[in-house]
């Protein structure tokens, strides 16, 4: 019978029944606890009775140590091995007291195949289950394996150096020594492009007998490249980033031309073309700086270098222009004129007279400028950049994650993440947005003529989280620091507020833009946009997303304000965000949490570049041409070197520090050292080199020496460093950019050092056991590999290599040793890539047989075991 507690009191007044009823009710209150307790007991039982044990069958690897020890501890005469006995019997083994390892080493040093036969025989007799290999100087001599070393997951290695003295009175007492040297060294030269070379189709005159060309340059966009009018190859270069190319065909023995063409106005904002010539090096005391040919609008910002005491100069200008062109060196205008196919020479006397008798030009990089005169649109003044960063502060920006996730609960919330169990760091989307905004503020305000404003929005614009246009970095950072998340997403509110503030606080002459970021979907309307069509094609008209797009369209169409849009995270409405950028005339960016800071950096760079557009000519229907026969010629005094020149390039500076490091070899005399500077639409304003003695930076180039208004000056791409400023070993160089004599910013991460040294190039070997040769694989600095046989008469199968992956050769072979020594001399930066390209027939080897002189041999032996 079921008791109804509602009527139980009414029907029965019996105390005993009441008591029983109460007990029954209380017992019901322990049912869950009782079950859970029983479950806990079962769990504890499992934990207690099932011990953490399991059956393992494992093998320990020690064979690699023992193999070398065993082979060292047994004499060859004692060894019970059929191959060893046969070799002793045939007198191939004469020193019976040597250990087995020494005997194999001696065979190896003499390039005797018995090394492999004997070692393989011993390994086979061992019958090992493991993969085992015996290596001499990284060369496999014998192995006993089922799987290849290349596919090994684990490799155990044991090493030992063994050596011996070969003083046998018989035939093997002959040692060998070799010398290797290059009898021909190809000439190389660099054609430097800019500061800024434009605007139009560009032609480079590379000269005669070119065999190979490698270049890198910052192009304004996609371009076509052809050699000597042959078929053009299209390249899709990214503006702002150096684009590399190699050409090895299409060259002729006469003058060679490279043609860079594009349907758009092409320009090159710095770069170089290195050419290798089929002729020997010659070192002169004059230099001719050829102009690139330009068909379009003459607009060259460049420099030339005087590598010694300047004796005389000559400038030859060959151009066609219906408009006046001007030519300046430093800040002195030396020519102005116009005409068709004008050929004009600025003589040494004229130049000397106008350049203060060449005072202060020795050993210096001198900027020059060749452009169109009195054309107002050519020399636009620098535009200020005014930009509002419009940032989504809605509730979804509070989503976070833990830096470490050893347990799933670490990603639960900030408390668990930063608690004792996980000990991680909790990061939210908003944290990243703050970090990205700070980077953006710093980047845009690197020039004080720019201003940044902030707008924080959720379902509406938060006035307290917004800030007017300002160049006060600290104040802007403080506003960003105060942001917190919450609320809806009204993208159009943010854009409209940015437009209003730009209209009130800026002028249309400035470069005005808005960077709007969102991590979700717009869900709040703006009455200002009225009824909007389905602009994001989601099938719904007049939704909040459509309002956001319309707000961007209005900003661009009505006020010329460019709207950049960033979709942050997977939940962002990318269709709407992309449409905002499309209609706002800006660029669309999409990225996850790891990309946001980089994206803001990119946007900042784009805004800066767009604002500083003064180096670019924008004009229609104007045609001028400068011919590649134009040049600047300088004669100078300089001590000539009779050694061979080798050129090398340092790695790029990189983004972490605006400083480049390079190392000059101690056994070579520096001949020319230069730093490249990709200045973008700014000017290379200052170059400094670190003086270790004084512990400070020495200025070696300062554009401000020639004037404060940079638009009137050239812009060097290559700045030569006087040799008196460099020293063997490590050197550091710093490059600064600017748009005037103040407000410097760091140079490009793509800058590098190009240097050449004069050096005796030859390789020697000590007296060693043999002089047979090898088939060499050599990697050159341009990334190509060549296979060459040294000496050419060598018919064996030994493989040697000198590559960035490592060196393999037999040091007991005189020819191999000498070749290695030569390649080491040619590899200036020691990266395993030979700087100087040469052909097999340009390397000569001389070997000498030396009788009766004991010589040592040495080799490293390795035993490797792998699984």
């Amino acid at each position: 019978m079921k008791i109804n507690p509602l009527n139980f009191n009414c029907l029965c007044g019996n105390e005993q029944i009441k008591k029983r009823q109460k007990m029954r009710k209380n017992r019901r209150g322990y049912y869950f606890s009782l079950d859970a307790f029983l479950a806990l007991v079962i769990i504890l039982g499992i934990v207690l009775f099932i011990k953490p044990s399991s059956t393992h069958v494992s093998q320990e690897v020690n064979v690699q140590y023992d193999l070398l020890e065993v082979l060292s501890n047994i004499k060859i005469v004692e060894l019970d091995n059929s191959e060893a006995q046969a070799l002793i019997f045939s007198s191939n083994i004469t020193n019976l007291n040597q250990s087995v390892l020494e005997q194999i080493g001696e065979f190896y040093a003499n390039s005797d195949m018995n090394a492999e036969i004997l070692a393989n025989s011993i390994l086979n007799d061992l019958g090992l289950d493991e993969n085992v290999g015996l290596y001499f100087n990284n060369m496999l001599i014998a192995n006993s394996n089922e799987t290849d070393l290349g596919g090994a997951k684990d490799v155990w290695t044991s090493r030992q150096i063994i050596s011996g003295i070969n003083n046998n009175v018989n035939s093997s007492s002959s040692g060998f020594s070799s010398r290797a040297f290059l009898f021909s060294e190809n000439k190389f030269s660099y054609f430097y492009l800019g500061g800024y070379i434009g605007d139009g189709n560009i032609t480079l005159d590379l000269g005669e007998n070119v065999v190979f060309t490698r270049g890198e340059a910052v192009f304004s966009g996609p371009f076509n490249l052809s050699v000597n009018g042959g078929s053009a190859v299209s390249y899709n270069a990214t503006p702002g980033e150096p684009f590399g190319f190699n050409i090895s065909s299409g060259f002729v023995t006469d003058n060679n031309y490279l043609y860079f063409t594009s349907s758009e106005n092409l320009y090159i904002a710095g770069g170089f073309v290195k050419s290798i010539y089929n002729e020997s090096q010659s070192i002169h005391t004059n230099g001719k700086f050829k102009f690139p040919g330009i068909k379009g609008l003459i607009n060259i910002y460049d420099s030339f270098y005087v590598p010694g005491l300047l004796q005389s100069m000559e400038v030859f200008l060959n151009y066609t222009s219906p408009y006046n062109v001007f030519f300046t060196i430093g800040n002195r205008t030396l020519y102005s004129g116009n005409g068709t196919n004008v050929e004009y020479t600025l003589t040494d006397a004229y130049l000397r007279n106008n350049l203060n008798d060449y005072l202060g030009m020795d050993y210096k990089t001198i900027p020059f400028r060749f452009g169109l005169e009195n054309v107002s649109y050519v020399l636009n003044l620098t535009r200020n950049a005014d930009v509002f960063s419009v940032t989504d502060l809605s509730g979804s920006m509070g989503e976070g994650w833990c830096s470490v996730t050893p347990y799933f609960i670490c990603n639960w919330n900030q408390a668990t993440c930063e608690g004792f169990l996980c000990n991680g760091v909790w990061t939210t989307k908003l944290d990243l947005a703050k970090q990205a905004n700070n980077v953006f503020i710093d980047a845009v305000l690197s020039s004080s003529i720019n201003r940044v404003g902030l707008i924080g929005y959720e379902g509406y614009v938060r006035m307290g989280d917004s800030y007017d246009l300002s160049n006060d970095v600290v104040a802007l950072h403080n506003v960003v620091a105060g942001w917190n998340d919450g609320g809806g997403t009204c993208i159009c509110c943010g854009i409209n507020e940015g437009v209003d503030r730009l209209n009130n606080q800026s002028v249309p002459e400035n470069f005005r833009s808005i960077v709007v970021m969102t991590d979700g979907e717009a869900n709040v309307h703006c009455p200002k946009q009225g009824v909007t069509p389905d602009l994001n094609y989601n099938g719904i008209t007049d939704d909040a997303g459509d309002d956001a797009i319309k707000a961007a369209c209005d900003a661009y169409d009505d006020y010329g304000i460019i709207v950049y849009a960033i979709a942050f995270g997977d939940d962002a409405d990318k269709n709407t965000t992309e449409a905002i950028a499309d209609c706002g005339g800006g660029d669309f960016y999409s990225g996850n949490v790891s990309d946001l800071v980089d994206i803001y950096e990119d946007v900042a760079e784009q805004i800066i570049n767009a604002a500083y557009s003064e180096q670019t000519i924008v004009a229609q229907g104007v045609y001028t041409e400068v011919y590649p026969s134009s040049y600047i010629s300088v004669d100078f005094d300089r001590t000539l070197s009779h050694k061979l020149l080798i050129s090398a390039e340092s790695p790029i500076f990189g983004s972490t520090a605006p400083i480049g490091n390079f190392s000059l070899p101690f056994d070579a005399a520096p001949y020319e050292v230069s730093v490249t500077s990709y200045s973008g639409s700014r000017w290379t304003s200052k170059v400094e080199i670190y003086d270790n003695n004084l512990g400070g930076w020495n200025t070696i180039f300062n554009l401000s020496e020639y004037g404060d208004i940079y638009t009137e000056l050239g812009d060097p791409y290559l700045i030569n460093i006087p040799l008196s400023e460099v020293r063997p070993g490590e050197n550091s160089v710093r490059v600064s950019l600017g748009v005037g004599s103040e407000n410097f910013t760091s140079g490009s991460q793509y800058n590098k050092i190009i240097y050449s040294v004069a050096k005796n190039i030859s390789g020697f070997s000590p007296i060693v056991a043999s002089a047979k040769g090898c088939i060499w694989t050599i990697e050159f600095e341009d990334g190509t590999n060549s296979t060459m046989v040294f000496p050419p008469s060598y018919s064996g199968t030994e493989i040697c290599s000198y590559t960035s992956a490592g060196y393999v050769f037999n040091p007991n072979d005189a020819i191999d040793y000498a070749i290695y020594d030569l390649l080491l001399s040619l590899d200036l930066d020691g990266d395993g890539r030979v700087e100087t390209k040469f052909e097999e027939n340009e390397l000569t080897i001389a070997s000498f047989e030396v009788n009766g002189i004991p010589f040592v041999w040495e080799t490293e032996v390795q035993a490797r075991v792998w699984r």
Binding site: N9, K25, A36, P52, S58, V63, V70, N81, G127, L128
Partner: protein, 155 residues
């Protein structure tokens, strides 16, 4: 009216009891889960620790056997037949004690002979069930030949 209030009070108490029960049960249940969680984390590391200890003892034993001191079977870096046979003649406990092993073991050498008779192994081989077995392979010199030396230790 008073009676009605009393009924309402009783219903409220009953609800509290059930809620309290649920809370206690949840706590007990979570506690159980936590135990399992930590146990699962520590299980693999405990097993690895045990295996590492096993390897250590195995290596130590192989070093002692392939040495020239104590019960080691080498002389002049080669296996000494007399020492080998002396080792073989030791009792099981002595073998273990001299090698400092708490486990069963045996070793084999290619073409090994004891008293002129070919032998596959020297050591203690008296169990059929194996829980954790390690094999250490070394090389040594026996009868003027480099040979494989394998030591097996198991529990």
């Amino acid at each position: 009216m008073e009676q009605f209030l009393s009924i309402k009070k009783s219903k409220g108490k009953k609800g509290q009891i059930w809620s309290f029960d649920l809370v206690v049960a949840t706590i007990i249940f979570l506690f159980g889960l936590l135990i399992l969680f930590y146990y699962a984390i520590n299980l693999s590391s405990q097993s690895k620790d045990k295996l590492d200890e096993f390897f250590y003892e195995g290596n130590l034993a192989s070093e002692l056997i392939l040495s020239e001191v104590g019960v080691g079977i080498l002389s002049d870096n080669k296996v000494n037949q007399t020492k080998l046979e002396n080792f073989d003649a030791l009792s099981d406990n002595d073998k273990r004690n001299f090698l400092g092993l708490n486990f069963n073991f045996y070793f084999s050498i290619n073409n090994m002979k004891i008293s002129g008779v070919p032998r596959n192994y020297v050591g203690i081989l008296n169990t059929t069930e194996v829980d954790n077995l390690i094999q250490t392979t070394r090389l040594t010199i026996y009868e003027n030949k480099p040979v494989k030396f394998q030591l097996f230790v198991w529990k």
